[in-house]
């Protein structure tokens, strides 16, 4: 099995289990508030880390390149409440253009 397949299958299996846990196994039970408060913070923390690593991450170094133009264009699109596809296209265009010049 290739690396990509292992990732696809494992992430899929974990996610199916997460989603099913409540309705299938623990009908009616709830997580303690402290734990819920903890889990809620995972997504924003990890997504912010992904923004940073994808924007300026290199091979064990900080790399400032055309990707920053993409993030800036995407940020403007997000601020203007543009749909997700517009955010992606604007960011890709800005990155490609800066790379050309």
């Amino acid at each position: 099995m290739s690396d990509a397949w292992i990732v696809a299958v494992l992430v899929g299996a974990f996610t199916i289990a997460f989603k099913a846990a409540g309705p299938v196994l623990l009908g009616g039970r709830t997580l303690p508030a402290r734990l819920t408060g903890t889990v809620e913070l995972l997504a924003p923390a990890l997504l912010a880390a992904l923004v940073v690593t994808q924007a300026v991450g290199g091979n064990r170094e900080i790399v400032l390149d055309a990707r920053l133009a993409g993030v800036a264009a995407g940020a403007v699109a997000i601020w203007l409440k543009a749909p997700l596809i517009v955010v992606i296209v604007a960011a890709a265009l800005a990155t490609a253009l800066v790379r050309l010049v």
Binding site: A20, A48, I88
Partner: protein, 216 residues
């Protein structure tokens, strides 16, 4: 009561173009990083959660290990465990039915089915999820097939679109002061660790931020 399944379909309709194009973007990126079209489609059909799928591919793209890619995606999806437990009482019917219906829990279907005080209308959630799912999977197939004929994703600026995509997903998660502080801390941890740790590690390390959630 079947009308509330239709209500869910109606509320999510506006988001279907986004699901299709978001799925296509995932397919293209998966193809560019050595994930074949079948694997990408299987991942979309089973995981059905865009952010985690993009996270896993990003870590692989950066040269991270399989374990790091899986860990980043699984940590990101841990929120579904919390959501799943919180809305469990809304699900009824046989165990098998509850299993399949629970798979339609995604950020979008959860958001449109809010019924006040943290409760959801299950029928609205299921209706919304059933509409969104085929668009997400079909988008992935289109992207994965197209991705194989696209020249060079980097020349097309895809590497710059990725952080912007995560930024858009992040903004949707910033619902209060705590989530905003968690985002700033997570981003800072990643930035500091990039020069010193292998690919994927800075993202996984950012999850320690949630320990702060224990202290209220």
């Amino acid at each position: 009561m079947t009308s509330s399944y239709r209500e869910g379909a109606k509320r999510i309709a506006a988001l279907t173009p986004a699901a299709l194009s978001f799925g296509a973007a995932f397919g293209v990126l998966a193809a560019a990083n050595g994930m074949d079209a079948t694997a990408a489609t299987v991942m979309s059909a089973t995981t059905f959660a865009g952010a985690a799928q993009f996270a896993a591919i990003s870590v692989l793209h950066d040269g991270g290990t399989v374990a790091a890619a899986v860990a980043a995606a699984v940590l990101l999806n841990a929120r579904y465990l919390a959501i799943s437990l919180a809305i469990a009482p809304a699900f009824d019917g046989s165990r098998l039915r509850r299993f399949f219906e629970s798979q339609l829990i995604v950020d979008e279907s959860w958001a449109v089915s809010q019924a006040g005080r943290g409760r959801v209308d299950k029928r609205v959630l299921v209706g919304a999820g059933l509409v969104l799912y085929p668009f997400w999977v079909a988008g992935t197939v289109i992207g994965a097939v197209a991705g194989n004929v696209l020249a060079d994703p980097e020349a097309l600026g895809f590497d710059g679109a990725l952080p912007a995509l995560f930024l858009a997903l992040l903004v949707a998660q910033l619902v209060d002061r705590r989530t905003k502080i968690a985002a700033v801390m997570g981003g800072a941890i990643a930035l500091v660790l990039i020069p010193f740790t292998p690919a994927g590690f800075p993202v996984i390390a950012a999850s320690v931020v949630c320990l702060w959630g224990l202290k209220r």
